[in-house]
Symmetry: C2
Subunit: 139 residues, 2 copies
Amino acid sequence: MNGQDCIFCKIVSGEIPSAKIYENKNVLAFLDIGPVSSGHTLVIPKSHYQMVHECPADVLSSVAEVLPKIAAAVYGAMEADGYNVLCNNGRAAGQLVNHVHFHIIPRKHSDGVFNSWPAFKYGSGELQQITEKILRHLR
Amino acid sequence: MNGQDCIFCKIVSGEIPSAKIYENKNVLAFLDIGPVSSGHTLVIPKSHYQMVHECPADVLSSVAEVLPKIAAAVYGAMEADGYNVLCNNGRAAGQLVNHVHFHIIPRKHSDGVFNSWPAFKYGSGELQQITEKILRHLR
């Protein structure tokens, strides 16, 4: 499957060049050219799906299978203190390219890259209510 | 494998209760009790590993296999406009519980949950330099 005018599909096909980190039959990893930290890497399935929930299980697991070794290489090479693995799904979540992609973002202590974590507590009964709502949507 | 004094291992064993969303042999999903948005869900492998790069490939792919259907349920139930799938690795990256976990964070347009995306451009030659450095660490 190929997304028409999808920049990541063009990177997969080689039409657009990339700083390639890893490639196998199903997965490609390359450096983000607009990084939020040095070594910021993108890992994508070669087939075109927009969001995680639209991916067949085997497509997403083929990405997951190689994620540990790619993360290890990025983490080690950048001498990072940690890293985020982040997949934004939909514009509302910050997705800019409509081809599912996992950011590996090397982090240093107190680098200030991401600061916001606006955690709150549920009101009485809310946890149970939301659980039931999600369970009704589970197929 | 079990992490001594790991709160998520205790949730897996049932010693600590949770608002369970999904469970199979290898994976558990439950609501985060300190959510950053309503419906914020955690998906974890039952076995204890701290970070993505420490997970055997099959452990991470067992999580990935069920991620689409859990994400679909959370996204649908919360009538979200999008969602982040986020795994923080190490304190520097915001990891608070040392058991690898994937946040599914439902998002609404302009909800302000995460705003920071401090992208920059690499200097001349830097992209190539970093690519080579990461490739040398790839095993």
